[in-house]
């Protein structure tokens, strides 16, 4: 007989029941060693092992189950956590890509709430703790392509932002979703610089936001997000240039108008609303046909070809069917 539950079809394990990925991947060696009767020694050595040692600060574990979403787990080699957490753009903490890791320690991530606003049936302030429990955490290993011409492979932890959107019930008139980053002059030293209008605003069309690959992200590399990578929660849209993925989100707004996104306001001729990764549409000042994979391609290696929609064309290509991607860059 059919047993009806309110579950969405998956049995969600408690996070405490999930084997940490490092242990799982190392299971054979662990079992061999335990069979050899050195369990005690193993446990001590595991406790001091590399995954944590790489962290710039103490990161609490946040592990996701393997995702079943198509395209969610590239087999490419993940970038070193050290590189992914020390080389990125987060203009609220400085212009140089080494600045965020140096300056983001001032960010205060607790307590944290996210305001859901605009054309929704259930607006309100959602506490981080509730958002963490809203859906099962998944690990998504995505390619990340920066508009500047470099790329990484990052194992994120989170769930499809569609899960949240469904819960807050957008109205039929909602056509776009706006994602707003915290802009706190006290803790973010470069908020107030004239580079951009603050707060940092990003946005997606509703169907883009509802796409299962669009990830509401709370962690990476099996731990909560480091502050410089957009703690405590951020967006990751793997088929768009990195700047489309807003960090340290405090507001999600549903609107009927295309959001005025930060970079498209600052330099409209260079950065469009869509900003899909596209090797055929060059940035006005440089080619987007190739990219350098951080930590992977040697100093003298040729750059690798950039893929259409960052390689996610089978999953997201139909969102843009018939659209002139040169015009809507």
């Amino acid at each position: 007989m059919l047993i009806k539950t309110r579950d969405d079809g998956f049995v969600h394990p408690k996070s405490s029941e999930i084997t940490p990925q490092v242990v799982y991947q190392d299971r054979r060696r662990l079992m061999r060693l335990m069979a050899g009767g050195v369990a005690g020694a193993v446990l001590t050595s595991w406790a001091t092992r590399d995954a944590r040692a790489q962290m710039p600060g103490p990161g609490a574990r946040l592990v996701g189950r393997k995702s079943t979403v198509s395209g969610a787990s590239t087999m490419e080699k993940p970038t070193d956590l050290k590189d992914a957490s020390s080389y990125n753009n987060f203009y609220e903490f400085g212009m140089d890509k080494s600045d965020p890791a140096r300056n983001a320690h001032t960010l205060k991530t607790t307590p944290w709430t996210v305001a859901i606003e605009g054309l929704v049936r259930k607006p309100g302030n959602y506490a981080l703790e509730d958002l963490l429990k809203l859906s099962a955490m998944e690990e998504r290993i995505y390619r990340m392509r920066c508009v500047e011409g470099w790329s990484m492979v990052i194992p994120w932890v989170g769930y499809s932002v569609a899960e949240l959107i469904k819960k807050v019930e957008p109205l039929g008139t909602a056509k776009y979703v706006e994602f707003v980053t915290l802009a706190d002059r006290k803790t973010m030293p470069y908020v107030g610089s004239r580079v951009l209008d603050w707060p940092y605003v990003e946005g997606l069309r509703m169907d883009e936001a509802m796409h299962p690959l669009t990830l509401l992200t709370f962690g990476m590399y099996g731990e909560v997000l480091p502050k410089q990578n957009g703690a405590p929660l951020r967006l990751v849209v793997p088929w768009k240039y990195g700047f489309k993925s807003g960090k340290s989100l405090v507001k999600i707004r549903f609107t009927d108008k295309q959001p005025a996104t930060a970079w498209s306001v600052a330099a409209p001729q260079e950065y469009g609303f869509y900003s899909n990764v596209n090797p055929l549409v060059d940035h006005p000042r440089w080619s987007q046909a190739a990219e350098r994979r951080i930590g992977e391609d040697g100093l003298f290696a040729k750059k690798r070809k950039t893929l259409m929609f960052n390689g996610y064309e089978p999953q997201v290509g139909q969102l843009y069917a018939g659209m002139d991607l040169k015009k809507y860059y």
Partner: protein, 220 residues
């Protein structure tokens, strides 16, 4: 210390080798750091940018020689000018090599397309081309062959090079609206070029300029 004593010290035998080694330190450090993987997550970018930064710094140094020489009454400084000028050229060549190799993999066709596509690269490339005749006429016989006046006129190209270098840097940073560093270099170079303009307008420039070209030729 009075300027006569500093001047005497500057004429000492150790000064030129000391300046030479100091100017070599940045490139030595970069090679070492690259070899020991200490250039961060994107070593290619770090190398391209640092060699560009050092070209600009050398340019500031070489253009500071004449103002300092005259304002501080240190004629001996002129001995260092040629070496500093050649370091500007060397760092600029390294900068181009790093770009052509690390960013473009020495693919000539790609480089040509990139230069056409990115005007800021064209500007930087032009600045380097303008440095070529200066480097080529930096030795004593070339100076004598040209004559001090013509040599001097030719080497005023460095003022144009300085302006192109700033434009190159400004344009490169324009995408990020990040101009703090550009302003610093533009300020220094503007001051050094402005000093020359002020001298020329107040009529003190000409005699002195010809004078230091002669010093550069060294003792005959």
């Amino acid at each position: 210390m009075d300027s006569a004593r500093i001047n005497r010290w500057l004429l000492g035998r150790a000064v030129k080798p000391l300046v030479f080694l100091s100017c070599l330190l940045p490139v030595l450090w970069l090679v070492l750091a690259a070899a020991s993987d200490r250039l961060g997550a994107n070593p290619a970018e770090a190398l391209i940018r640092s060699t560009g930064d050092w070209t600009l710094r050398m340019l500031c140094l070489v253009l500071a020689v004449t103002p300092l020489r005259i304002q501080l009454k240190l004629p001996a400084l002129a001995r260092l000018r040629r070496m500093l000028g050649l370091f500007v050229f060397s760092y600029a060549v390294l900068h181009l090599l790093c770009y052509a190799w690390l960013d473009m993999g020495f693919e000539v066709e790609e480089i040509a397309r990139d230069i056409a596509k990115r005007p800021f690269i064209l500007v930087g490339f032009t600045a380097l081309l303008l440095l070529l005749p200066l480097a080529a006429t930096s030795w004593n016989r070339a100076i004598r062959a040209l004559g001090a006046v013509r040599w001097q006129a030719l080497h005023r190209l460095v003022y144009l090079v300085a302006m192109l270098a700033i434009l190159h840097f400004f344009w490169m940073r324009a995408g990020k609206n990040d101009f703090a560093e550009v302003q610093a270099y533009a300020g220094v170079l503007g001051l050094l070029l402005g000093w020359r303009l002020w001298r020329a307008l107040s009529g003190q420039g000409r005699r002195a300029a010809v004078g230091h070209a002669r010093i550069d030729q060294g003792p005959r």
